[in-house]
Amino acid sequence: MLPLANLLPESMASATSRRRFLVGAAVAGAGLTIGFGVPGVVRAAGPQGTPDTAVQPFEAYLRIAPDNTVTVLAAHLEMGQGPYTGIATLVAEELDADWSQMRAEGAWGNPKLYGNLAWGGNVQGTGGSTAMASSFMRYRKAGALARSMLVAAAAKEWRVPAEEIKVERGVLSHPSGKRATMGELADAAARIGEEMLAAMQPATEVPLKDPGSFRLIGDPSLPRLDNVAKTTGAPVFTIDVRLPGMLTAVVAHPPRFGGKVKSFDASEARKVKGVVDVVEIPRGVAVVAETTWAAIKGRNALKVEWDESGAERRGSDRLLAEYKALLDRADGVAVARNDGDVEAALGSGKRLEAVFEFPYLAHAALEPMNAVAWKHDGIVEVWGGHQMPDLYQAVAAKIAELPPDKVRLHVMMAGGSFGRRATPDADVIAEACSIAKAIGWKAPVKLQWTREDDMTAGRYRPIYVHKLEAALDDEGRLAAWRQRIVGQSIMKGSPFSAFVKNGVDPTSVEGASNLPYAIPNFRVELVTTDVGVPVLWWRSVGSTHTAYAAEVFVDELAHAAGQDPIVFRLAMLGDDKPRHRAVLEAVRDASGWGSPLPEGRARGVALAESFDSYVAQVAEVSLEGDRLRVHKVTCAVDCGIAINPDVIKAQMQGGIGFGLGAILKGEITLDGGRVVQTNFDGYDVLRMSEMPEVEVHIVRSGEPPTGVGEPGVPPIGPAVANAVMALSGKRMHVLPFSRSDLRSA
């Protein structure tokens, strides 16, 4: 995902120059709240979720309560990748808080505070592995400010110079023996905080710690903040939301994409005990019931006739055949990058060519898609895994026919997402609101997709076909490279369409057009197809296919040149690519590259930059007959300053498992436009017995932090494919591997 500057219709820029940090109004017992905005405009902070409060409760980054808890209000959704823990680490570091004080909650509702700085700052969202990049300065400053206010408050109360006060692990102390917790001083700090801020010049400049004195940032032993809740079954997910009188809805969606309701017969559905209503909504027919099971049974009994005149009827095989026919076509081709003269250079030397096929992939997060909507007392509340809250606020407001400031979003943790909950049309939020509206807003409605809905109702990583051509010169150097990519655009036709420039959707070519290797004649082409299947970003987006095709082809070229794959790559990584070189060298050394392996085993390597992080992996595999085993993966990552090293390791392990499942057996196929795989029995994912041992090495870096949620994914596919080639000679050009016999070519 990419910078989203100016995405929102109204520019928020007008008041920018007057914006600075703010302190919530001093109310006894309210503690200290640090926010950001225009002085005089922001109001006191109140408890989250208070619907009738006259104040905007979310204009804050952190809250220190009299009970000594420090709650960070996180701009980024917790869907497993650890941003709550990361943001709390940033605040606690500068605040000198004790880790046991720290809490986190999802925040939303003010792009001025929560706009993603890695996307330009005007819209809030979680994606593109940007949470730490966007938060690194913002939340440290908030923590540092709160610390300075607590110190000033203590100095005033104790009548001692501020310089003599120490702050350690949440406690302020003075050599005279005076001592107080942050919670004890919070109210006093709030009373003087705004005065301090008004005197600060410039208003947004806050002194921060030198990285050399970080105590929590970089500590591998910090426990995740959601560790206990998620091991005790606590109700943290949207599916766990329970409200008085709440009804549950499931929706019958059209069996083919683009289908519409022609008519429906709800007579049998209404006979199911517990079914309350059956209503048509823009995306299908909803069965609303007292319980989930009654809603599911009601839907089973529902008869819907679909108008499929505008539906997509092509199957996967036909799409693949059509895409292949576009591989050599001259018209309709957009050029993403063009260096030198590829055409001429491909005409000499040793030439190689390969065609790669990639299937549709489902995100299949384990919590099936859902949302809860409730309109009452002039507001509408929506509970969900709100990955793009500003967009969802606008959609909910429109359906509820209320101004946006009458929308209250409750940011629940998401049971996975992998991109799926960052949906430009707010799909489940829109469905939940539409159903609640269709029953006259008479009750809160939980929309719950079943696994079958989640798998068959879209959205998917698109099908792509790539053609790669390259020429090696007489010295075995790569002289020319052409990569043509054929597939659907994720951004075209979405609110993100402005990012499609000169016919190039950057998410279709990322990882290909920025290939790090020095190749004098280099060209990346894109043919965008028009298919009625809804597609979406899927963990690591374009690099899920670009990195695979490029890194597998690079290995084939190294083989053709008679060179070691790592030596071949390093020779093409110039002095301007030190971070690529460093992770590749690190993984070479850590994996024992080149050392003897037991009979029947081989190693493969791959390198990929994604979301400004650099990852290299070496996979060690064996084949028993046609059965592939990935025994071990060694991974080196450079993601800048490592804020939570253990979270980084976990994300590399998880990204590798997620990517490995997909390349081994992940595919959504269409038969005449209908999705064939309906559940985990058809769409098989990685299981325990297939998980390799993953060893992660974090390359030390003083660069600003970058992403870890996605960058672990791209290298694993090509690393495993390259190991298979080393072992059996088989070229893995068709994904998933389950389509091929892996034995010798």
Binding site: G80, K230, F237, R242, W293, I296, N679, F680, V685
Partner: protein, 151 residues
């Protein structure tokens, strides 16, 4: 009315007899720690113990769940339960966390039966899906819980 025994307590439930135990726990009793993931016993997010045996509650009609001892994540305790939870927290297993109730229940059932499971035992018993692929840490946590139980 059906009478169930859940986490040591007798509970009266007014539910259609074909309702899966999963939805009785979640919707009728408000015990939301047990998760819905697939509805066809593929993913294991709904794992509970029935007379100590790890069981996928999405495929168990509530009429078949009477007269047995049901344990859910909310009621998981005892030496084994505590060891598993401690190991999970110490090794930082969770990511999104959605599958972890089921993983913990599956691990506790395994350890109750086999105090020293090997990797093959873990592969065979721990077939629950984790889309975050926390498998490496789950495996390590099962081993660690076994060590805690030995100590």
């Amino acid at each position: 009315m059906l009478t169930l025994k859940i986490n040591g307590k007798a509970v009266e439930v007014d539910a259609e007899p074909d309702t899966p135990l999963l939805w009785v726990l979640r919707d009728h009793l408000g015990m939301t720690g047990t998760k819905y993931g697939c509805g066809i016993a593929q993913c294991g997010a709904c794992t509970v113990h029935v007379d100590g045996v790890a069981t996928r509650s999405c495929q168990l009609p509530v009429e078949g769940a009477t007269g047995v001892e049901i344990t859910t994540i909310e009621g998981l305790g005892g030496k084994v339960g505590e060891a598993v939870r401690t190991a999970w927290q110490k090794l930082q297993v969770v990511q999104c966390g959605y599958c972890q109730s089921g993983q913990i229940m599956a691990a506790a059932a395994l350890l109750a039966e086999n105090r020293k499971p090997g990797d093959a035992d873990i592969d065979a018993a721990m077939t629950n899906i984790c889309r975050c692929a926390t498998y490496q840490r789950i495996r390590a946590a099962v081993h660690h819980a076994a060590e805690l139980l030995e100590a």
